[in-house]
Symmetry: D2
Subunit: 418 residues, 4 copies
C-alpha cells in the first residue's frame, strides 16, 4: 500500500517534470522533426500519456471513456501489437491536434488514472507494475526531450538558448591526471535480480569471466579529443572501423556533433547557446565509431559493458552527486578531484553489442516490444548523462544506440588489459 502511494506520488512528479522540461519552448519548437529519430516535443508529450491510457486505462478500467480515438494512431511509437500508427518520419507533419489539446489530454489521463488507481482494488499488482514501467518510460522520454530539443534548436540559423548556461563555474579547473585503475581477473556477477525497478534487459544475475583490466579514472576531455582532431585523426583510415570510415567520409564528419570551427577557433552549441569549447569538460556527442577510433589512436580500447559494470560496482561515486537531469546543468562538466563520474555526465560507449542476457525472456503482449526487439546492430552505453533522470542513473542500466548516432550526450572512457 505504501509502495502504491509512493508510486502515485512518483507518477505526479514525473508528469510535472516532463512539462517543466517543455516550459521554455516556443510554439513552433514543439512541432519540429528535423531528422527521423528526433521526435517533436509535442509527440513526446502525447506519447508518454498514451502509454498509460493504452496499457492501463483502456485495459483495466471498464468504464473508461477514451479521450480521442485518433490518438491511438497518432501517439503509438512502435508497438505493432497495439495497431497501426503514424510513420515515424511523419510525426513532424501532425500540426493537429494543437498543443493546447495535448495538454488537455495529459490532464484528462492524469485525472482519470489517479482516480482509477485510488478506487481500484483488483489486479493491483499487475496495474502498479505497468504503472511503474510507464513512469520509467516517461523518464526515458524526459532524456530524449532534452536531446531532441537540443537538436531541434540547433537547426536554427539563429542559435537560440534553451536556458542560461550553467556550468561555467567549472571552467577554470585544471585537468586532472587521468590515472588507470586496475581490476583483477575472475568470475563476476552481472545483471540485476533484486526488488527495485529495472527493465527486462537488465534482469538476470549471471556470471562472466573477465581478464584483468584497467580503466581510466576520467572520461576523455575535449582537450584530448582536439589533439586527435589536430593529429588528423579523422583523415587516417588506420584508426577506424571500416563502417566508421565509410560513415565519416559519406557524411563529411570531421568533429563531434554541435561543434563549429569559426575562424580557426572551436565552438560548440550548448543548451545555453554557442560557446567556446571547454577544454577540460568531457568530449561529448560522438558516435561509437569516433569513440572506437579515438581509443585506437590512443593505443587503448573501450571497456566491455561487463567490465564497466564491475568497475562501477567497485568504484562508482554516490549517484545522487552525479551530474544528472535534476541538476539542471544539461551539459557535461569537467572532472573534480575525487570524482570518477562513472555515473551521470556522459554516457560511455562500451565495446559490447546490445544482446540478451542468459535466460532473457520476452514479455507477453505489448510489453514484449519494449526492449528485446532492438537487440541487433546496436552497442551498449553505460552510466547515464547530464540529461538522464536520477532514477535512471543506475549501475545495471543498459542503454543502446546505433553506432553512428550521436545526438545523445555520449563520451569515451579508455581501458586496457593489464
Amino acid at each position: 500500500m505504501e509502495k502504491q502511494l509512493s508510486l502515485i506520488k512518483f507518477f505526479k512528479e514525473t508528469r510535472q517534470q516532463t512539462e517543466s522540461i517543455c516550459q521554455p519552448l516556443e510554439p513552433e519548437d514543439y512541432l519540429s522533426q528535423p531528422t527521423e529519430n528526433v521526435s517533436p516535443p509535442k509527440w513526446h508529450l502525447g506519447h508518454t500519456t498514451w502509454f498509460y491510457e493504452a496499457l492501463i486505462l483502456k485495459v483495466f478500467h471498464k468504464n473508461y471513456k477514451v479521450f480521442d480515438e485518433d490518438y491511438f494512431f497518432l501517439f503509438n511509437s512502435y508497438y505493432n501489437t497495439l495497431g497501426d500508427r503514424t510513420n515515424r518520419f511523419e510525426r513532424g507533419n501532425q500540426t493537429r491536434p494543437v498543443l493546447k489539446k495535448i495538454y488537455e489530454y495529459r490532464s484528462y489521463v492524469d485525472y482519470e488514472l489517479v482516480k482509477f488507481l485510488e478506487n481500484n482494488s483488483s489486479e493491483v499488482e499487475k496495474i502498479y507494475s505497468i504503472l511503474e514501467l510507464g513512469i520509467n518510460h516517461e523518464k526515458q522520454h524526459q532524456e530524449l526531450l532534452i536531446t531532441d530539443i537540443k537538436y531541434i534548436l540547433y537547426q536554427n540559423k539563429v542559435l537560440p538558448s534553451y536556458q542560461s548556461f550553467k556550468n561555467n563555474i567549472f571552467q577554470a579547473n585544471k585537468p586532472l591526471n587521468n590515472e588507470m585503475i586496475k581490476v583483477d581477473e575472475g568470475i563476476y556477477q552481472i545483471g540485476y535480480n533484486g526488488p527495485d525497478f529495472h527493465f527486462d534487459n537488465e534482469e538476470g544475475e549471471h556470471k562472466v569471466y573477465l581478464e584483468a583490466f584497467k580503466f581510466a579514472k576520467h572520461t576523455v576531455t575535449n582537450e584530448a579529443y582536439l589533439e586527435f582532431i589536430l593529429n588528423d585523426g579523422y583523415k587516417d583510415f588506420r584508426h577506424w572501423l571500416s563502417d566508421g570510415w565509410t560513415w565519416i567520409n559519406e557524411n563529411n564528419i570531421e568533429s563531434p556533433l554541435f561543434w563549429k570551427n569559426i575562424d580557426g577557433k572551436w565552438f560548440y552549441y550548448t543548451l545555453g547557446g554557442l560557446r567556446e569549447i571547454d577544454l577540460h569538460a568531457p568530449v561529448c556527442h560522438i558516435s561509437f565509431y569516433e569513440a572506437d577510433a579515438y581509443a585506437t589512436w590512443a593505443g587503448k580500447r573501450l571497456l566491455t559493458e561487463f567490465e564497466w559494470e564491475v568497475a562501477a560496482k567497485k568504484f562508482a561515486n554516490n549517484k545522487t552527486d552525479s551530474n544528472c537531469l535534476e541538476k539542471n546543468i544539461l551539459s557535461p562538466i569537467p572532472a573534480h578531484k575525487s570524482v570518477n563520474q562513472l555515473l551521470g555526465n556522459v554516457w560511455e560507449w562500451t565495446n559490447s553489442a546490445y544482446l540478451a542476457y542468459p535466460y532473457f525472456k520476452i514479455a507477453e503482449g505489448a510489453l514484449a516490444e519494449y526492449n528485446g526487439k532492438f537487440m541487433a546492430n546496436q552497442m551498449v552505453l553505460r552510466g547515464g548523462s547530464c540529461a538522464t533522470p536520477l532514477s535512471q542513473v543506475r549501475i545495471h542500466y543498459r542503454n543502446f544506440f546505433y553506432l553512428h548516432e550521436r545526438w545523445q550526450f555520449t563520451g569515451i572512457r579508455l581501458a586496457e588489459y593489464s
Copy 2:
C-alpha cells in the same frame, strides 16, 4: 503620381490579404513543411516581406536600418545573386524566429517602405516598377499559401477544415453538354506588349501560325475522370507517356491527389474537410501526365499554350466573374450555362513546354533569376484557378510546373484538330 498612389494602396491591400489568408491557421500549421516544394506559411510571410526589404529598402533607402541581418539568409528563396540562403528543404526546421517576430518584421517593413515611398523623389520610376513586381510576387505567394496550406492540413490524420465548405450551392447542377468550339487556322499574335503589369516571360507580342482547332467549352469533370479510372485508365500503359507510366508505378498513383476511396466510395479532401466527390465539378489536382493520359484515352489532346491564348482572347468570360481567390470558395465549381471558365477555377495544363518567347531577355541583377532560369523540364499552365488572386488571372499569364506536380489546382481542357 496617381499610379504611384494607387500602387501604395494596392501594396497595403495585398499585405493585408496575405495575413488574412493565414488567419485561420493554428501556430504549428505555420511551421510545417511536409515535402520540399511546400513551404511553411511562416516562411511565405517572411519571404514576401524580405523581397521588398532586399530589393527596395536595402538598395534605395540610404538610412534604412535592417530589421535583422539573419533574415537575409532565412528568407531568400532562390536568388543566388543575393547571397547564401537556407536550403529549401530546411525551411520547416526554422522554429525561430517565432511567428510573432515575423509579424513584427512585416509591420516594420510595411511602415518603413510606405514612409520611404511617400518621401522619396529620386529613381521613382525604377522603385515603383520593383514595388509593382514585389506586389505581384506576393500575389503569387498568396496562391502558394492556399495550396501549401491545403497540403499541410491534409497530412493530419484528423483532416481539419481551413474554412467552412462554400461551393455546395453548385452541387445540384446537371452537367452541361461539353460542346467543341472551333478556331480557324491562321497567324495570331501571342504575348503582351502593353502598359499593364506583366512578367518578363509574357512579354513580347509575336506571331504564331496555328492550324484550325477545336477546344472543349468546359473542363473535364470529376464524373468524366472517374470513368477513366473505372475503365482502368491508370493500369493501361497505352494511354501514358513513358515517363508518366514510370511515375505512376513508382509512386502507386491511382487517382488525383487528395482523393480517398473509402469502402468503395470516392471522397476528396477540400479546404472544408473531407467530402464526397462533386461529380459535376472539374477534376483537379492532377499532374500533366494524368491530363495527357486522360486526353489520349478520350481520343483527344491538350491545347498548346498558343491555342489556349487565342481561344481565351476570343471567348473568355469577364475575369471578374471567374472563380478566383477573392471569391473565397477555394475549390473548383461546376460549369454554369454560358460560362466557359477559361479564366479561374482550375489551371489548365497545356501541351507546351515552358520556353522563352522570341527576343526574351533576362533582366539585370537579382530579377534575372525571376523567370528565365526555370525554362527547362516544365509545362505551361494557363487561365488561373480558384486560388489565384484576381490580378493574376490574365490571358497572357504563363504559369509553369514540373510534369508530375499536382498540389496546385490543375485540370484538363480537351482539344482536337478540326
Copy 3:
C-alpha cells in the same frame, strides 16, 4: 518489286554493318552495362534481331519456329504491347545466352526472314513497311552501339582503343571565322510528307511563323568552350538554368564528358584512346544544360528545331560529304573552308522541347510505342553526328534526349535574333 529487292539488299547490308561495328570488341565488352541507359552490345545484337522476329516473322509467317521463347523476354526493349521484359538495368546481368548463341540467333532470323520475304506474296506492303522500319531501327542502334562502346571502354582504368585514331589529318587546321548567316522572317514549311522513309514523329508538313534570325556557320569549337571553362563558366550560376545548376553541382560536372585534366592539360577519351584535345574540333559530349549555359555566357542562344530545319534546307551541304558513321572516323572533325557541317559531325541541341507535330497520330499496335510516348522532358537535337548512319542523316530527322544526357556526340551551334 524493285523497291522490295533493294530493301532486302539494304537489310543484308545493315545486318552485316552491325556486326562489323562489334568486331573489334573483346568478349567481356559485350556484357558490360556501366549505367542504366548504356546497353551491353550483346543486347543490341539480340534486340535488333528480336524486332524482325517479333514484328514480322511471328506475326506474318505461319509456320515460323521461334528460335528461343526466352528471347522474347530478354530482348524486348520497352514495348509493353509485346509482353514482359528484362528490366533495363538488368541487361548487363544476363551472362547467358552466350555471345555465340546470339550470333546464331542473328543468322537464323536473317535466313528465315529473307526466305520468307522471297516466298511471300500476301500483305507485302505492310510487311515491307515494317521491314523498312526494322532496318531503320537497327540503324539507330548502330549509332547507340558506337556511343555505348565508347562509354563502356571508358570505364576501364586502362583506357583501351576501339580502333586507331583517324582524324588527325584535320588537326593542323586554323579555326575559321565563325560568321553569322541570316534567315528572313516568314512562314515556313516544317516536317515531311514525301515517299522516302521517315519516322512518324517527322511526319506532317505544316507551317510555322519564324522571326528573322541568324545562325553561326560553324559549331562551337573546343577552343571556344575552353574559354568558357577558364572563365569559370561552370562556377557562375548566372549562365545556368536552375535545373542545370543543380545538376552540375550534384554531379560535380566541370567539363564535357570524357574530358580529363592531367597536370593542367586537357585530354579527352576518343575511340582511338586518350588524346590531347583538338582545339579546332567542335566541342562534343555536352548536355543541353551545358549547351544552353555556353550560349547564355556567349550572349547568344540556341536555335529552335524549326529555325534549324529552315536553315538546313537552305544551307546544308551534301549529306554524303558529311562526317557520318560510314566515314569511320567516329570523332568530330574541325570545320573546313566552305562546309557548315549542319549534317553529321555533332548533333546540335535545339531549344525545342520534343513534342508532337500537328495531326501527329500514334500508330496502332506495338509501333504505337516507337516515338510518341517519349514526348515529355526531352529536347530535340538535329543534324546527325559522326556516329550516325548516313541513312539517318536527314534534315527532318528529330533526335531527342534528356537535358542531362551527354554520352551521344552532342554539340552547340549558336544563334541570335537579327
Copy 4:
C-alpha cells in the same frame, strides 16, 4: 624446411583449385557483378594473385619486375595501406584486362613466386608466414567464387547449371529425430593458441563462463522452415527483430534467397539448376534476421559463438567427413544417422556480434586491415559450409557477415537453456 616445401605444394594446389572452380564458366560469367558485394570471377582471379605480388614479391624480391602497374589499382580489395583502388561497385565495369591476360598474370606470378621461394634464404620465416596467409586468403576467395557464381548465374532468365546436381542420393532420407544435446555450465577455453594456421581474430585462448545449455543435433530442415512460412512467419512482427521486420518489409522478403514458388510449389535454384526443394536438407541462404525469427517462432534461440565452439569441441564429427568444397556437392545435404554436421554443410548463424577476443592486437602494415576493421555491425557464423575449403573448416574459425546477407550457404541450429 619441410614445412616450406609442403607450403609450396599447398600453394600450387590452391592455385590450381581456384582455376578449376572457374572452369565451367562462360566468358561473360567472369565479368558480371549483379550486386555490390558479389565480385566478378575475373576479379577474384586477379585479386588472389595480386595478394602474393603486392605483399611478397614487391616487398621482398629485389629484382622483381611487376607484371602490370595498373593491376595494383585494379585488384586491391580494401587495403587503404596499399593505395588507391577500383571502387568496389565498379569491378564489373572493368572489361579489360581480358580474361586471357589475367590467366597470364596468374602464371607469371606463380612462376616468379615459386622461383623466388626456392632461391631465397633471408627473411624466410616472415615470407612463409605471409605466403601461408595468402594461401588461406585464396581459400576464402574460393568459397566466395562458389557463392558469387551461384548468385551471378541466378540472375539469368534462363537459369543455367554450373554442374550436374550431385546430392540427390540423399533425397530419399527420412528426417531424423532432432534431439537436444546438453552441455554443462562452467568455465571453458575459447580461441586458439597453437602452431597451426589461424587468422588473428581466432587467436588468444581465453576463458568464458557459460550457463548450462542444450543444442539441436541437426540444423533446421527445409521442411521445418516451410512450416514457419506456412504459419505466416514472415507476416507476424512478433517473431522479428525490429531491424529485421523493416528489412523484410522494405525488400519484400517472403522466403530464403533462391526460392521460387511456381504454381504453389516451392523450388530453389541450385548450382545444378532449378529443383524442387529437398525437404530433409537443411534450410540455407537465410539472413541472421530470418534465423533469429525462426528460432523465436520455434520457442528456442541461437547458440552464442562460445557455446557453439564448446559444443563442437565435444561433439563435432571428423572434419574430413564433412560436406565441404572438396566434396564438390556444393549444396547442403540432409542429416545422416550419426552425423551432427557441426562442420561443413551450412554456416550456422550465432547470436554473437563479431568483436575482438581479449588481447586482440591489430597486425602491422597492410595486414592490419585483414580482420579487425570489420568488427562492427556483423554477426559471427561458425562451422563452414558445402562451399568451404576443407582447410577452412575448423572449430575456431570465425566467419562474419552483416545481418541481412544471405548469398552464403547459411543455416540455423537451435539451442535453449537447460
